[in-house]
């Protein structure tokens, strides 16, 4: 059977087999095939090579009469039947001589299929930024957020990330946009958990579209708690700090510990690193080793700030107070204005 009936080669060039053409392309649209399959359909049905260019997408594609992909052309020649598609593109059939009865219909359906496919396969035409902004904004109604998720073709869980505005990985992500936040302008990134994470980022949870906005709130808190020492913070490590962040964002007055810390680091930004290490280690010795200084040097630095802070950050209880003050300080003062 297989070799007996030979190849599929075109419609009757004289008859108008409109329904056949429509059915063919409708089936391809339903099957979510790629652009090449649409071009191949046009070539197979017309028995002539077919091509397309979409300059805006830097797309050029061509198949020969047998449906094989072949060297692309940048334009159709005069005399070939062609049809415009959105975004300044063109599709054509490379028939020398008079057009066949079905060529116009084939081109119309090809153009329609290509347009639908471009719309489906690429997010370039969709307002990606606008859709992400809608989806991550807890104040937007849920049904509108889900509509935005639809336009982003998001139907599965997605990882929600807040990243620094100069982060190269965030900029290259398929779904990312700069958004204005309490911490300044930052990247909102929606990606798969397998993707490499940005370098300076708050990594949120991986959640379905309904929970993206909540996950974004946490991711942004995590980003605001990052530092040079700890450039990536995962939202699921935040614990009770989310409550602290909610208080800060609600406009709670800065407690004296935070005011004092702010005064200290304002005059000596490098001190933040010292206090970070101190808060992160069990002992002064450990912190000193991490900082690469002698522990007596660190003891001197502690002694210098003890009076201003009103407690001893070298001691256990003091370290905890300082860690909280550092967190609130960062939540209040971390800004990513570029």
């Amino acid at each position: 059977m297989r070799e007996l009936v030979g190849r599929l080669s075109g419609l009757d060039p004289t008859a108008t087999e409109t329904l056949r053409v429509i059915e063919y392309f409708d089936t391809l649209v339903e099957g979510h095939v790629g652009l090449e399959a649409f071009l191949r359909g046009a070539a197979v049905l017309s028995g002539a090579p077919a091509g397309l260019v979409v300059p805006e997408r830097r797309l050029a594609l061509r198949v020969d009469a047998g449906g094989r992909r072949t060297g692309a052309r940048t334009t159709a020649l005069d005399g070939w039947s062609s049809h415009p598609i959105g975004a300044g593109g063109t599709v054509w059939i490379e028939r020398d001589g008079p057009a066949h009865a079905n060529d116009r219909m084939v081109l119309e359906r090809l153009a329609m299929g290509v347009a639908v496919t471009l719309d489906r396969t690429s997010l370039a035409d969709a307002d990606v930024g606008g859709c992400i902004e809608q989806l991550i904004d807890i104040r937007v109604r849920l049904d509108e957020r889900l509509r935005a998720a639809d336009r982003l073709h998001l139907h599965r869980p997605v990882r929600v990330i807040a990243a620094a505005p100069d982060d190269p990985i965030a900029r290259r992500a398929k779904r990312s946009t700069l958004v204005s936040t309490v911490a300044g302008v930052v990247f909102a990134v929606l990606d798969d958990a397998e993707q490499p994470a940005p370098e300076r980022a708050g990594i949120g949870r991986t959640v379905p579209p309904t929970e993206v906005a909540a996950a974004w709130t946490e991711a942004l808190v995590a980003l605001r708690l990052t530092s040079a020492r700890r450039p990536v913070v995962a939202a699921d490590e935040l614990g009770a700090l989310t409550v602290l962040a909610a208080g800060v964002d609600a406009g709670a007055a800065e407690p004296p510990d935070v005011v004092a810390l702010g005064r200290l680091v304002a005059g000596n930004p490098a001190l933040l690193d010292t206090l970070d290490e101190l808060a992160a280690h069990e002992s002064v010795r450990g912190a000193a080793a991490a900082l690469g200084v002698h522990h007596s040097t660190l003891q001197h630095r502690i002694a210098a700030v003890r009076a201003e802070l009103g407690y001893d950050p070298g001691e256990h209880g003091g370290r905890q107070r300082m860690a909280l003050a550092l967190a609130v300080h960062r939540l209040t003062h971390t800004r990513f204005d570029s």
Partner: protein, 337 residues
């Protein structure tokens, strides 16, 4: 042979006992109606008319075949003992080299239609591109000539080809058998005969969507009461023509229906392919599994959403190209091309 795709109503009427059907590859689904229309004449034809129509399609298809790189010769070989001689068509590369690899080709057609000339385009391609010597056999067709005529004729032609390998310019160590559909089933049968009768050495066996099981009992056959090509009814008809009352019964040899073989050890490297949306899917998969179970070498491709013979019938589709390339790559590896 070719049947119209089921209508929505027909699908709804399928009883709840019917297993779910398998969606076609989208490009194949688009091409299927065009195919069916092109070959609409066959749908209502009887066997004699179908054979005439198929011959017309073959001639039409061969019209623009470029044979400039080959020599085509018609030869006659003795048939099985007491039976008529058989015709062989030999396709040789014009630039001949001694000891070329050989492909012994067995055409398809449900055991009831087709001719050795159907394989010529493919053999011309192998000769032109790879310097392969091709031999295609004219076996007698059912129902006029039921089992074992097709497989025994094909085996007799193979024995003769192997014995005359030097004359034909074939390296006897690099001879493979190849067939599609019914031809694939016969190729499997011939391979088993060569094993069991101590016949010619085969370097490989290429079974393309092969028809190997007369028992009509697999899930894939029940899934294809309706099909673009070669549905369950057509399949029963083909086996009826070949086996008559013996179809599905105890008196059918493994050479007629190789799926019945329980021991598939001692076979040459075997290539098998099939579509997931065809009657033959499960018998082909099981055949490959039995070769592996016997410690043999088999390569199996099941093409998702492929109907019977898709790679030839809907040749331009991406999945068809992929299927042909996979097969050709295996043949090149096996023959050292």
């Amino acid at each position: 042979m070719l049947s119209p795709p089921p209508t929505a109503t027909e699908l709804q009427m399928t009883s709840i006992d019917s297993p779910p059907t398998i969606p076609l590859d989208p490009e194949l689904a688009a091409m299927a109606p065009v195919l069916l229309e092109r070959f609409a004449a066959i749908q209502n034809a009887d066997l004699a008319e179908t054979r005439v129509l198929m011959e017309q399609f073959r001639v039409e298809r061969s019209a623009d075949l470029d044979t400039s790189g080959v020599e085509i010769e018609e030869l006659t070989a003795p048939g099985p003992a007491g039976d008529p001689d058989i015709a062989l068509t030999v396709v040789r590369p014009r630039k001949r080299a001694a000891g070329a690899p050989g492909i012994y080709s067995i055409h398809g057609g449900g055991m009831i239609i087709g001719s050795r000339l159907d394989s010529v385009p493919e053999l011309v391609q192998f000769a032109t591109e790879h310097g392969v010597v091709g031999v295609s056999v004219e076996y007698r067709l059912a129902p006029e000539h039921p089992d074992p005529a097709p497989v025994e004729d094909s085996y007799a032609g193979l024995v003769w080809t192997a014995a005359h390998a030097a004359d034909l310019g074939i390296d006897p160590e690099r001879l493979i058998v190849m067939g599609a559909s019914a031809g694939g089933g016969i190729a499997a049968g011939v391979t088993l005969l060569a094993r069991d009768r101590g016949g010619p050495h085969l370097a490989g066996s290429v079974l393309i969507c092969p028809m190997i099981d007369d028992r009509d009992a697999t899930l894939s056959t029940r899934q294809h009461e309706q099909a673009v090509v070669w549905d369950r009814t057509a399949n029963r008809g083909g086996w009826d023509a070949l086996l008559g009352d013996r179809r599905g019964g105890p008196d059918v040899s493994i050479y007629a229906a190789p799926a019945r073989a329980t021991d598939l050890s001692g076979l040459p490297p075997t290539f098998l392919d099939t579509g997931s949306a065809e009657v033959f899917r499960d018998e082909v998969v099981e055949y490959a599994s039995k070769i592996w179970a016997a410690g043999g070498r088999a390569e199996l491709h099941v093409w998702a959403g492929g109907f019977h013979g898709f790679d030839g019938l809907a040749a331009p589709a991406a999945i068809s190209t992929a299927a042909r390339e996979a097969r050709e790559a295996w043949i090149r590896r096996t023959l050292g091309l």
